[in-house]
Every structure is written in structure tokens, then in C-alpha cells.
């Protein structure tokens, strides 16, 4: 999908500044456009320099990172249900496992019974340290970028991570890293963990603003 060119950014920012004149925080304005990038890639934070409004830039940065959250390599273990998903079409995990009381499965069918600390290329079983389902409160499947953003910042639903810890987690966590090294012919998440981490860091630096509810990358 082609995205609007970055050249629109100053115009959008100008329009956003023509908001209500009454005191109080300005309305978010329309979603800021993100730079055009090749399929499977992510833009760099510098590509957003043309968005002068800091909050608009923050929203645009998160929106640009959001294809990672929605990519099956990441979203399949953030289901809005009790079973992990598989494949690019998000079909139910086979064998049929359930999340269990602690998101690691049930006795006899726990994640680590099959998934190791690294991918097994011959057996084709994916693996990484801490392999598990994300808690139901961290579901991403079917959620908008706005909803995921709000959820990520919620200390009650993000494992108690503050914004700096979120940056560190996304940029360096070894289970997050699996999304870009999924093994055996699986399509990786867009970009690299480094480029994703850079977007998240820039998003935090610009105020960690969330995109509007209808905004899409």
C-alpha cells in the first residue's frame, strides 16, 4: 500500500494548528502521514523531521511502528482469545494448546514442552527464551494502533513497565527479537528490531502520544 508523501506533513500540521481558540489542550487533528517505505521495511525517526508539531510527530512515529505489532510474527502470540495463532493467516495453533492459568499452557501442554530457547531448523519448531503467550490484557489481534498504544502505556496492563522500560523491552528483549529471526521460511516482522526500537524510542521522546482511534498506517 502506498502512503501519502511526507511533503504533506507541513500542510497537515498547519491545519492542525487552526483548532479551537478556547483554552485547553488542542484537538489531536487528523493523523499525520508517515514516510513512504519499501515493503517489509520501517522508516527511520529522521524521516519524521518534517512534522513540526511534536505531538503529531509522536503519533506518526507510533503509527509507523504499528505494522510490527500487527504482523503475525508478533500478533499470533498476542491473541484476543485463549489459544495462540499460527501462520500468516492466523489460524489456531496446532496442536491445540490453551493459555492456562499463567499464559504458559496447561500441564502436559506447556509451551516449553515443545518450544526451546532457539529455533529448531530441522524440526521447524520456532523457539526463543521465555516463549509464552502474552496475557489476554495485552491482546493485539483485532486491535487498532490507538488501542495498542493505549494498552502499551497502561502500567496495569503492560507488566508495570514505564516508558523507558518499554523502549528497552522493544529494542532489546530476546523474545521480541524472535519476530525478526523467526526461522524456517517464516516471514519476519517489518524492518529490524533496531529500527523498530528506534521508532519506539523516538515516540517516547516526543511525548508517547497515541494515534487517533481511526488512524491506520
Amino acid at each position: 500500500m502506498r502512503r501519502p508523501a511526507l511533503i504533506l506533513a507541513p500542510l497537515i500540521a498547519t491545519l492542525a494548528s487552526c483548532g479551537p481558540t478556547t483554552p485547553g489542550p488542542p484537538a489531536p487533528g487528523p493523523p499525520a502521514p508517515t514516510p513512504t517505505v519499501a515493503a517489509g521495511q520501517l522508516p527511520a525517526p529522521a524521516d519524521f523531521a518534517g512534522i513540526s508539531d511534536r505531538a503529531q510527530r509522536s503519533r506518526a512515529l507510533f503509527l509507523a511502528a504499528s505494522p510490527v505489532f500487527h504482523h503475525p510474527r508478533c500478533a499470533n502470540c498476542h491473541p484476543d482469545g485463549d489459544s495462540p495463532l499460527q501462520g500468516m493467516d492466523g489460524h489456531l495453533h496446532d496442536p491445540p494448546v490453551v493459555r492456562g492459568p499463567d499464559d504458559h499452557g496447561v500441564v502436559g501442554m506447556q509451551c516449553q514442552g515443545c518450544h526451546q530457547d532457539r529455533n529448531l531448523e530441522l524440526a521447524r519448531v520456532p523457539g526463543a527464551p521465555k516463549w509464552a503467550l502474552a496475557p489476554r490484557a495485552m491482546a493485539w489481534v483485532g486491535k487498532s494502533a490507538h488501542e495498542i498504544c493505549t494498552q502499551l502505556k497502561d502500567l496495569n496492563n503492560n507488566g508495570g513497565k514505564d516508558l523507558q522500560q518499554l523502549v528497552e523491552h522493544n529494542a532489546h528483549d530476546e523474545l521480541v527479537a524472535w519476530g525478526w529471526s523467526p526461522g524456517h521460511g517464516r516471514e519476519p516482522a517489518p524492518g529490524t528490531q533496531a529500527s523498530f526500537g528506534a521508532l519506539i524510542a523516538a515516540w517516547v521522546e516526543t511525548g508517547a502520544e497515541c494515534p487517533q482511534s481511526e488512524a491506520k498506517p
Binding site: 494448546v97 502436559g108 501442554m109 514442552g113 515443545c114 524440526a123
Partner: protein
């Protein structure tokens, strides 16, 4: 590499990436654990690693180092674990190939849930396939064995 298998200390010179199943069957002669799919999809190779259910076909030896492995041969010294007795009484095995894996998973289930519901049995044994279709007998045998397993104190 040292590990304990069925209560006995063993030392093996193996590639740390060798699947545990290879060591059990080819090096230690414990052939009760079966090779099925080799991809952790059928459950025929189920054993316990420090009491936890693992598929031996995808468990590298480095993960088993220094730990306790229990196979079907070690479940009960006399082969009379309540599950094994129930399996015999109800004629559960048909071709029998998957049964060691079924029993090892069921043993872990009963340790955690001494009186499992049908749903708990189905969920825990969902990764152990039986091509003979003995699932109803398996469920009955697990329930029969549950009556013979003393509650954990």
C-alpha cells in the same frame, strides 16, 4: 554430559544439540519412548524433565544436562503405576505405539490434578495423537487411575 535417567546417574559423550530421544533410545536402550513425527506434533516421545512434560524429539541434550529424566521405563519400578494398571484393565492400547507418551502425559496431569475433569484430560492430552482412535478409552483409563492415585498431602 551428566544427567539422571530414571533415577540413575548417566554420563554420555554427545553433541549438546542431539535430541534427548536419540540418547534415550540409541545410547541408553530405553526404547519405550517412541519416535513419531520428530516435530513435537504427535506426543509419542513424551518424557518428563524434572517432572515437566517435554517432547524428547525436540529437546536438545544441553537442556537435559544435570537434570532428571523420567521415561515410561522409570514411571514405576514394577510397571504397575495406576495408569499402567488402568491401561491394561481397559485394553486401551491397540497398536500401542502412542501409549507410552499418553501415559507419561497423563501421569503429569494426575500429579497436578488428582481428580481431573473431562476438559482437563482433553486439554492436557491434546498433544498426544492416537491413530487407532482410543481417546475414549484413554479418558476412561485416566479416570480409573485417578481413583487409585492417593491425593497429594
Amino acid at each position: 554430559m551428566k544427567l539422571r535417567v530414571n533415577g540413575r546417574e548417566r554420563e554420555l559423550e554427545v553433541d549438546p544439540e542431539m535430541p534427548l530421544l536419540w540418547a534415550l533410545r540409541d545410547l541408553l536402550g530405553l526404547t519405550g519412548t517412541k519416535y513419531g513425527c520428530g516435530q513435537a506434533l504427535c506426543g509419542a516421545c513424551t518424557v518428563h524433565l524434572d517432572g515437566e512434560v517435554v517432547r524428547a524429539c525436540v529437546t536438545p541434550m544441553r537442556r537435559a544436562e544435570g537434570r532428571e529424566v523420567t521415561t515410561i521405563e522409570g514411571l514405576s519400578p514394577a510397571g504397575d503405576h495406576p495408569l499402567q494398571r488402568a491401561w491394561t484393565e481397559l485394553c486401551v492400547p491397540q497398536c500401542g505405539f502412542c501409549q507410552a507418551g499418553q501415559i507419561m502425559t497423563a501421569a503429569a496431569l494426575l500429579r497436578e490434578h488428582p481428580q481431573p475433569s473431562d476438559e482437563q484430560i482433553d486439554r492436557s492430552l491434546a498433544g498426544n495423537l492416537c491413530r487407532c482412535g482410543t481417546y475414549l478409552r484413554i479418558r476412561s483409563a485416566v479416570k480409573r487411575a485417578a481413583t487409585a492415585v492417593p491425593p497429594v498431602k
